[in-house]
Symmetry: C2
Subunit: 573 residues, 2 copies
């Protein structure tokens, strides 16, 4: 490809809203162009990278017996009412009426379409296990698209759906896919990624894993143990906290005046926050009159994902107004209004003497003891794990890192096959609902993740397996006839040898050419210049290591092919 013709503009500056490296570099290198919030066009280099990633995904999905199919982007409401997701998914799902006034939607995921396709076709247990997958455009109306291709509204995704006779068979297949995912991420050049247990959220299943690229710009918090391989998404992570040891005291009402926050009250009473009880107020989503108060130890934070699981309802921040008790701010478990849904964190059960709100202005209690004063209280794990807490598996210390979710896999169970009436005959003729798994990878997010992890101060650094072109050929002084002849000849030879080359055919300064080559990130840069040709050589630079070396012009094709083979075999190892 001739760079002079490539529709792809390199710029010194990134768009103002580009804050993270991948967004900045993909924009500056001209790989992406924004059309609307969270909606991008991809230029040729980016689309080539996307197709290479898709092909690697495809190979690995085919290797675990996946059948590539195609589901529609636009689906009718009726299909999504069978699973009840038409009503339960919020405004992130685009709904519209077609010209005949029928309700349609844009698919964000395709469980319903997968069951619709398999239903009636797969009718015997002998056809199981089977997995169908597609690679296609999806639209999810994210409230806050951000980070370039990290969190977009429109994206290309591989989504796969497997069907099984037994839970054991699903589990076996699930871990085959798990392994395939590890191979995919390695093959596309990602390095610092891990798998973690996750909350399956709206997918409606139980066991699930997320694959996370560890990076400080990640939106997800991940809990990891320094000593064993325990790791989990913050939403489901468990940790053991230090016990707050103290003596039992009598329950005593104390005047605390205008002091209300944990800090203020603990300071006034000369106690540490871990001897107090914190109250956080929510309302049930869709019913602001139904109040939920979560209590935990004063030094901990509520984990809303865990809280939702306990109360089996969605919650929103409480916006005030229904109760005097809540308005006064001194909220405590003792004698609290029974109409309020209360949940107690397990950390509270162990503290012998707690400071709690007295549910009236200007007063708190000290010496509150759940066992003695509220023996019927039940306790749940609803607090966030903190760095330094104790690993629930090995007793080591936990740390917290940020990550970008690059893939996820779920054991779905029978939610969709049951609700959509898909049955399959067993060996004895009895009918059963197949057990499903589902498996997703976002292609655009993979591109962003690679840019984020591998990019350096000069630009993109693209792995050999997914780089749009393997070689960036830079003739310097192309107005020099010998340079031009030798450069074009090398370009042709490389192409003949099956090497993918981006050829900078512009008559422009070396500095501009080198900056563009560094910014665009092809793995190998080849320079042909009057200087190199003086000794009949070319200069070959590895983008990743910045190592440069001169080789005889006549060896160039062989050297380049060897470098490509070496880098590919590293990625496929």
């Amino acid at each position: 490809m001739l760079l002079s013709k490539l529709v792809c503009e390199r710029t010194k500056d990134a768009p103002q809203d580009a804050k993270i490296k991948s967004h900045i570099l993909l924009s500056r290198a001209g790989f992406i162009k924004q059309v609307a919030g969270g909606i991008y066009s991809m230029t040729m280099p980016c689309q080539r990278m996307s197709k290479k990633i898709q092909n690697i995904i495809r190979e690995e999905m085919d290797a675990i017996d996946g059948q590539e199919v195609l589901f529609p982007v636009v689906m009718p409401r009726e299909l999504w009412e069978l699973s009840d997701r038409y009503n339960t998914i919020g405004s992130e799902m685009v709904r519209f009426k077609d010209r005949n006034n029928r309700d349609m939607l844009l698919g964000m995921t395709h469980e319903e379409a997968a069951v619709h396709l398999a239903n009636h076709i797969v009718s015997s247990y002998t056809q199981l296990p089977m997995m169908i997958y597609q690679i296609q455009t999806k639209f999810r109306d994210e409230a806050r698209p951000r980070g370039g291709l990290i969190r977009v509204r429109e994206f290309t995704m591989k989504d796969a759906y497997s069907f099984h006779t037994t839970k054991e068979d699903l589990e076996k297949y699930y871990y085959r896919c798990f392994d395939a995912y590890n191979r995919i991420f390695k093959r596309i050049g990602l390095k610092n990624f891990i798998d973690i247990k996750s909350d399956s959220g709206m997918m409606g299943g139980s066991i699930a894993h997320e694959f996370m690229l560890l990076t400080e710009v990640g939106e997800d918090s991940i809990v990891l143990c320094n000593d064993c391989d325990y790791r989990a998404n913050m939403e489901v992570a468990e940790g053991r906290i230090n016990k707050a040891e103290c003596e039992v005291e009598p329950l005593t009402e104390v005047f605390t005046g205008e002091d209300k926050t944990i800090d203020e009250v603990c300071t006034r009473l000369g106690k540490k926050a871990e001897f107090s009880c914190k109250a956080v107020v929510y309302a049930v989503k869709g019913n602001s009159e139904e109040v939920v108060i979560a209590f935990t130890r004063g030094d901990l934070e509520i984990n809303e994902a865990k809280l939702k699981k306990v109360i089996k309802r969605d919650i929103v921040p409480y916006d005030g107004g229904v109760s005097e008790v809540i308005a006064c701010g001194n909220i405590g478990p003792y004698n609290i209004d029974k109409s309020i849904i209360t949940v107690y964190d397990k950390s509270l059960a162990e503290v012998n003497a707690l400071i709690i709100g007295a549910n009236k202005p200007e007063y708190h209690y000290t010496g509150f003891n759940f066992k003695r004063d509220m023996p019927d209280a039940e306790f749940y794990d609803i607090s966030k794990v903190r760095a330094g807490d104790t690993c629930p598996v090995c007793g080591g210390k936990l740390r917290i890192e940020n990550g970008i979710e690059i893939g996820n896999i779920f054991q779905l169970g029978t939610k969709y096959t049951k609700s959509m009436g898909m049955t399959v005959a067993n060996a004895d003729g009895s009918l059963f609902n197949p057990i499903m798994g589902c498996y997703g990878i976002g292609v655009g997010r993979a591109i962003a993740s690679i840019a984020q992890e591998s990019g350096d101060e000069k630009g993109l650094v693209l792995p050999m397996s997914v780089a749009p072109w393997q070689v960036h050929l830079c003739p310097l002084r192309i107005d020099n006839e010998e340079v031009a002849n030798k450069a074009y000849a090398l370009y042709d030879e490389l192409k003949k040898a099956g090497v993918e080359v981006l050829f900078d055919d512009r008559d422009t300064a070396a500095g501009i050419k080198f900056n563009d080559a560094d910014l665009m990130g092809m793995p190998i840069r080849v320079v042909v210049s009057p200087k190199s040709l003086a000794t009949d050589e070319v200069e070959i630079t590895i983008r990743r290591t910045k190592e440069s070396q001169k080789y005889a012009y006549s060896d160039a094709v062989k050297v380049i092919k060897d470098i490509i083979a070496e880098q590919m075999s590293e990625l496929n190892a």
Copy 2:
């Protein structure tokens, strides 16, 4: 691929609404499954076929210097307001509001996105010509989806956009793409296709061609000459009609009573229809008070596409009510109300004595002569060509055939670059709006066209270049150990040799296996049976010719590879 695991159900019957061969066969072979009107899922065989077609298109687009990019499916209203298409395209375009109440739409075509991508990036004439294309999902809310994949609402399409400095350069590129299209259709195995001049309709350009597969189930009417290579879509076809010769007569008002139709009036007056003047009434779209009356010879029909071009307005059928003259039915050109837009077909100019309506009940005129009685009338070509009319090029006879549009190319001009403010600097520094071309092929329609043209009474007959698998391997009596061993060994050997094989591993009757193989249409069927193995042979059948021959088992791989190579070289010739 093992047939026993393939999610793809063969059936004896097609869905009730399947009326044409391609729809029936693709449904019966289990290639497609309907999700909603005009919306389908594709099973693995169909998706494999789709990908092979996409790759052939990709190769040919890359060969004419196309750059594959990706535009968004969902676009903001603002982008389409620049070209004014947000308002001018009707309900076939899906519009919706996003969660922030912004107007969005689903792209049916991507001129706006192409200009948006190229704008500012392409800033110098040295970057031209250039062409960008994508292969992606589109949604067009067709009023009447029909024919399976022939006319759908959601489809995969290759759409390409080229940008040029001069009209001559566009023309040169346009015909490169024209040639590429011919290669694509040949390579995917279509035979009876032609290119024809067409009306560029809403695309807003001037010169355009459609590629048509000639087939009786086609929705388009195509005019072809029996003697030269003149051909055109009915919408733009010109023909010379036989002249209606008669003597000049005086203009005479005659009583015609309740007779109103051409038939009734001509019968009463003892004249042929070609000596009468037919009036067809329309209203301007969006303004039912603005009436348009098109006049042509009594034996001809109005061609609405041509009429729209003449009046430069869109029209709808007139639904009555605004004028007594129109209500009486006897409409004629003579002294007609001047507030009505009237258009006269050129056939009328030559007739010396016409029967025309008198614009009042119960009366017509005879002997009307435009030259004498309405010397200011202007004439246009607004009539449909009929089979048997004279070719405008060579004077031969025209015939009319039906066709399916399988591709189209347009010379767009500057409509989009001008309205979207895209300018490029010329050699002298002056700015100009690049001249565009655009080029489309629907992948699903290509699949349907292949099924339609090549399918036979037993099922699909798929060309080697696009068949999901090259070989359908049918062991008979797979419960026989030798058959099973030899069949599985051949399956493995073929796969090792790079041959794509669908392996019917089911323990089922020969009749069922053969019916399925015929229905699914792979180009080569290989049978391994106790009978064939008795002489250590396999039986190889060519689906297309139905020729069967036995070969030594040990030669099978070589014979199959030779057949594949031969059929591929035919397609690529």
